[in-house]
Subunit: 348 residues, 2 copies
DNA sequence: ACACAGCTTGCAACCGATTGCAGACTCAAT
DNA sequence: ATTGAGTCTGCAATCGGTTGCAAGCTGTGT
């Protein structure tokens, strides 16, 4: 049905090879011929068949994106970024959702990897060893996760947490609770670490209340333990957890920020719709997706470049500043869920 | 790098054609040979190259999905459904996000259509004529939109609205406001229609307050007009709008459901996290995605089948009940945003 | 006039699968 | 032994592009 390169060649009165070259190596063909080919191309609405091209070039022009859960606004944001930037490079994106199932992850990636040039792995649950194994036979870029020798883009969790703590300390809070996400999660570990450092430096006490599911329900479950710590402020693993906290605190009759200030992380749309509107550390989500695409495409163009070798020759695209690793910074968005520390503890 | 069909053939001591047949037409090859091939296949970890296969079969094993905005939880849900069901059929999904830009839509679909076997169009903004043109040269399935001659899956908006009105009338509400979404939107039209019919039948008065953006901001903008109608209950185009209403009503000092009851549509995760938790008409989102995939795959298997011809021979898969059109039903989820009508109008 | 370089272009092989056709083989019936 | 049907397998063409190689053409220097 669709026009082939031979149809174009016939119409332009040249051979298929010339058409091919006119399109991909324009400098190599005579200007007049090139014009005839161009005319034929758009008269026929010709577009090269990707499968055929991929067969010989070994490149499919497609990348894979694996996320834990598309319904999670954070991952939806990353996906949008990946998608938009990939389109700009004329690359298609296979999206796969693991449904938060760590077991499905590896299998999915393997299946995907046969069909794409490279894969972007977002917040993978796999172990470092498993990741290394995957990176062995596919070009991989990580998002929101760092692993030795694998390029990726991460957030400066420490910096974000420092901003949150500084904000709270300035409001007079001395004792800050921390509701962590999944224990093995890379970002939980780094956010916890950043919090600990910032608290120490700014002379506040940090009260970790353990690990909870990174969901609204997780926040509901954590709330009572937060109250029990006697803290006047709480930092939650993410906005979903923070909103769960808000709900349960309200149910317990506590006022936010009157009795307790609450800070989230991510700045999903829901954060500004919560009551009270949530103070949170905004993480640039689409930006992460965009950078991941650039990173992946860079590696694909120059297979020699890896996180390790990049330091040596460092000649990469703009945003990456010569390294096959991007780091994004969070920004504290102050809304209504944080306020001055109460004079007396809510437990009085 | 990866094993080819020739490698397998050599290892199994047969010709490539036999390997091909052993894999796709097992009945045609001798059991012993088939076993040798199978052994060779998994010793080498062989997987057929899709591009090569696609080249000759004309099928890519890939479908496209176009949604207005991945960050919208409704579309994220549909995407999850599409994605999961496609995987089950060993089909990959290209996801494209138009960023709510109706102008980008058509171009995107055209670009996509060259690379996939068929396209699922979710809540397209295009006109019926444009849709017909697209369906002309690609296999298309619509989600959340009906158009003459094009298969699709829609929601029974009338039925959902009837449930909402019945619920409100039972609570004593006589005057119900309606905040519509984008005027040209198919679902706005049908929800408005359903509301009008149900209101008439159940002897309630419907007060439409016009069309608003299907967002939180849209809801905020509509709230004051809703109050001005003197209605004691309001049905919003979707949950996002309803939550916007909630916020503005709260700011205006009105109590929900004390002064005004609010009903949304969709049942996105946010609905149960709102304060008060939102009464809403739950629309099965993933289910819509799943059915769309089945529909598309059916059409691909049997190119003769169209919405028009399906009635005649109607021999399709389970869920579809013999029609190339699926209709899903909403379910009223009663939470805390609806309650008995106040004795006196809030305007008193 | 001749050789040689440089620029364009075509031929043909190739990527990795699928499939129509025909050949080889087995087995039973005549 | 011959024929015929039926089963299984291989050959070779094909899908739609890309690319190494060689050949044609033009123009320049001698």
């Amino acid at each position: 049905m669709a026009a082939t390169i031979r149809d174009v060649a016939r119409l332009a009165g040249v051979s298929p090879s010339t058409v091919s070259r006119a399109l991909s190596l324009p400098g190599m063909v005579n200007a007049a011929t090139r014009a005839r080919v161009a005319a034929a191309v758009d008269q026929l609405g010709y577009e090269p068949n990707r499968a055929a091209r991929g067969l010989i070039t070994g490149r499919t022009g497609t990348i894979g994106l694996v996320v834990p859960d598309l319904a999670n606004p954070f991952f939806a944001g990353v996906t949008k970024g990946v998608q938009a930037r990939a389109r700009r490079h004329d690359v298609s994106v296979f999206v796969a959702d693991t449904d938060e199932d760590p077991a499905a992850e590896a299998g999915l990636v393997r299946a995907l990897s046969k069909q794409v040039d490279g894969v972007i792995l977002c917040s993978p649950r796999a172990s470092n060893d498993e990741l290394a194994a995957i990176a062995q036979d596919t070009t991989v870029v990580l998002v929101n996760r760092a692993a030795e020798g694998i390029p990726g883009v991460t957030y400066d969790n420490e910096g974000g947490m420092r901003q949150a703590v500084a904000h709270l300390v300035a409001l007079g809070h001395q004792r800050i609770a921390w509701v962590g996400g999944p224990a093995k999660s890379w970002s939980t570990q780094h956010r916890g670490l950043g919090l600990r450092n910032a608290a120490e430096e700014l002379r506040a006490k940090l009260a970790p209340v353990g690990n909870f599911a990174p969901t609204y329900e997780g926040g509901m479950a954590a709330a009572d333990q937060v109250i029990a710590t006697g803290a006047t402020a709480v930092v939650a693993y993410n906005d979903l957890v923070a909103i769960g906290l808000l709900a349960r605190l309200h149910a317990r009759g506590l006022s936010v920020p009157g009795d307790l200030s609450v800070v989230g992380v991510d700045d999903i749309a829901m954060a500004s719709m919560a009551r009270p509107a949530l103070t949170t550390v905004r993480l640039p989500k689409q930006e992460a997706g965009r950078i991941a695409v650039e990173l992946l495409l860079t590696m694909l163009d120059d297979p020699e470049s890896t996180a390790a070798s990049a330091g040596a020759d460092g000649e990469l695209r703009g945003e990456l500043h010569g390294e096959l690793h991007g780091e994004l910074h969070g920004e504290l968005i102050v809304r209504d869920s944080t306020g001055p520390a109460p004079r007396t503890q809510p437990s009085d």
